[in-house]
């Protein structure tokens, strides 16, 4: 079986924030690699501060990248001159977390949606208004509302506008950074539905960043779990959710509350104190899988099932992978 060539290839991506006042530099993202195939969604989960958002911003070149490459449609974005990068932005778009702050408060919806169209000249000038109306319909908004300002819309409607702006230039790839976490639950479901139907209709590839595991399970084909700036587990959604291999992934999944008070109470009673995942960071000697990466020159990365990868980093002391 030969997979289609990936739309996006991220290799050894690293982002380092410079040293500040006596503190050492922070490696916010370190050695992150993954592919996204056309029309597929990769869910990126992890706790706050694990580097999810920074990864998304680094892929979009909104954040200086200190190591690695990001290839979109075969072109390395990290080495593109500014003008070509701007032209490439037609293929990659961004949906930000907070729909209340990601729209220019003094521009009408029509102006907001027309801006990318004019910049990339994807439609003739005369057809801009028509395309704006089409986008409004696409995201389920009334095209008659384009002359209003963002503050006249609800959070869910604003997020639809943000999505419409991202889709204006027919991108191939969209980074959705916590696209629903600022919305109420009912609206969340509507926005998730919208994203899924748009993905099917437009054959979009999505990088879906979220801390809500249930949402990610619903939308993602593959899932990457981040911790401490690294990906600790990567696999198909079913593999990661049903047979989590890394102790951090298991811990994360166990933290999801169960909607049954009795069972939840029982689970809390037997829950252990958070293991210290930072505990073992040895660069030499055998890892938990019994391989000395420093000696063999291999990445600390193990394929435990076809397409299911686990890092041997951040394993708490005394925890070993299940055999078989």
């Amino acid at each position: 079986m030969s997979a289609p060539p990936p739309l996006l290839e991220v290799r050894d991506l690293g982002v380092t924030f410079p040293a500040r006042r006596g503190r050492p530099p922070v490696r916010a993202v370190d050695g992150v690699s993954f592919d996204i195939a056309p029309g597929q969604t990769l869910g990126l989960v992890g706790e706050s501060g694990s580097g999810k958002t920074t990864t998304g911003r680094a892929i979009l070149q909104l954040q200086p990248v200190s190591a690695g490459t990001v290839r979109l449609l075969g072109r390395d974005l990290t080495s593109l001159p500014a003008a070509e990068l701007r032209a490439m932005r037609r293929h990659m778009q961004f949906v930000l977390q907070n729909p209340y702050s990601s729209l220019h408060p003094r521009m009408t919806v029509a102006q907001i949606l027309a801006e990318p169209l004019r910049i990339h000249a994807t439609v003739p000038r005369a057809a801009v208004d028509e395309r704006v109306a089409e986008l409004m319909t696409l995201v389920g908004l009334d095209p008659a509302m384009t002359r209003r300002y963002p503050h006249e819309f609800s959070g869910g409607q604003r997020q639809r506008i943000v999505i419409a702006r991202a889709l204006a230039v027919n991108p191939d790839f969209v980074v959705c950074d916590e696209p629903v976490s600022a919305l109420d639950v009912r609206t969340q479901a509507q926005i998730v539905d919208l994203l899924q139907s748009l993905q099917a209709k437009l054959r979009l590839s999505l990088l879906f960043i979220a801390h809500d595991l249930a949402v990610v399970r619903a939308v993602a084909h593959r899932v990457a779990v981040m911790y401490g700036g690294r990906i600790v587990e990567l696999g198909d959604a079913a593999q990661v959710y049903d047979t989590p291999a890394h102790p951090y992934t298991r811990n994360l999944l166990d933290a999801v509350p169960v909607p049954d008070p009795a069972r939840q109470r029982a689970r809390l009673a037997e829950a252990t104190v958070d293991p210290d995942f930072r505990g073992r960071e040895a660069d030499t000697g055998a890892c938990v899988f019994g391989i000395d990466h420093a000696a063999t020159g291999t990445a600390p990365w193990h394929e435990i099932a076809p397409g299911h990868f686990v890092s041997c980093r951040f394993w708490p002391r005394g925890v070993t992978p299940a055999r078989g």
Partner: protein, 262 residues
């Protein structure tokens, strides 16, 4: 507040625009009737060489206010450009621009103004340039501050991710959102500038006679203060009124635009 300020401003603008055509007499025409008190013909009386005070006040106000408006407009333009570039580009550019403005800022306003006017000569043009230079740093700083914050807002990042160029981001996505504090500061600068212009004219560094202006009128009248107090009170009240206009306007704008609730 804004309504009162706007009404006062309208009166000032009327003086600037209509000027000589609403003045009852030719402001430069002398007569034998000197230092007269107010009467039906000369509402505010006459000065030491028999010129109509009200007419001189109106025509002089036109001069003073025109200098003020033009100078502040120049300072605002320079302040906007420097502040926006400094705040938006940041880094070394910011450092260089801000340190250069600090040099200007370090001089007391009058010392600098007197030095420049003395060096270049007391003409209207030089007075305008001087005042524009003196007030540019204040306005540039008021622009730079909010730019530093707004440039990190989400919608700016969204614009960048869409592919909007940096120049357009700065002008379209940042500048319109920092306008409120700039309006307030501009209004306050106008109030200060009125004082600066009249004070320099009072010291003889303003536009040369015979063009009347409030500062030089005050200086001339000072000698006859005891004989004819109105000759001093007239321009003095006019100066205070004009300054007050912009202070009231600034306060009103601050309320309306709600610049922070600190």
């Amino acid at each position: 507040m804004v309504a009162i300020g706007a009404a006062m401003l309208a009166l000032l603008l009327l003086v600037v625009v209509a000027g000589p055509s609403i003045a009852p007499f030719n402001a430069a025409k002398t007569s034998a009737n000197s230092l007269a008190g107010p009467d039906a013909t000369h509402w505010l009386g006459t000065d030491s060489i028999g010129r109509d005070l009200l007419s001189r006040l109106i025509v002089g106000g036109r001069g003073t206010l025109t200098i003020t408006f033009v100078a502040v407009a120049l300072a605002l333009a320079a302040g906007l450009v420097l502040g926006l570039v400094s705040g938006y580009v940041g880094g070394k550019v910011d450092l260089v621009i801000m340190r250069l403005l600090d040099v200007v800022f370090a001089f007391p306003v009058f010392l600098l103004a007197i030095a420049v006017v003395a060096a270049l000569g007391p003409t209207i043009r030089n007075l305008i340039i001087t005042i524009a230079i003196v007030y540019t740093p204040t306005l540039a700083r008021v622009v730079r501050g909010p730019v530093l914050s707004v440039k990190r807002w989400d919608h700016v990042e969204a614009a960048r991710s869409v592919g909007v160029g940096e120049f357009r981001i700065a002008v379209v996505h940042v500048l319109p959102l920092v306008i409120s504090p700039i309006l307030v500061q501009t209004s306050l600068t106008l109030a200060n500038t009125i004082f600066t212009v009249t004070a320099l004219s009072f010291l003889g560094l303003g536009p040369p006679p015979p063009d009347p202006n409030w500062g030089s009128m005050l200086a001339e009248a000072r000698q006859f203060m005891e004989l004819a107090p109105l000759t001093v009170i007239g321009p003095a009240v006019a100066i205070v009124f004009a300054s007050l206009t912009f202070i009231v306007l600034a306060n009103g704008l601050r309320e309306v635009l709600d610049v922070g609730n600190r």
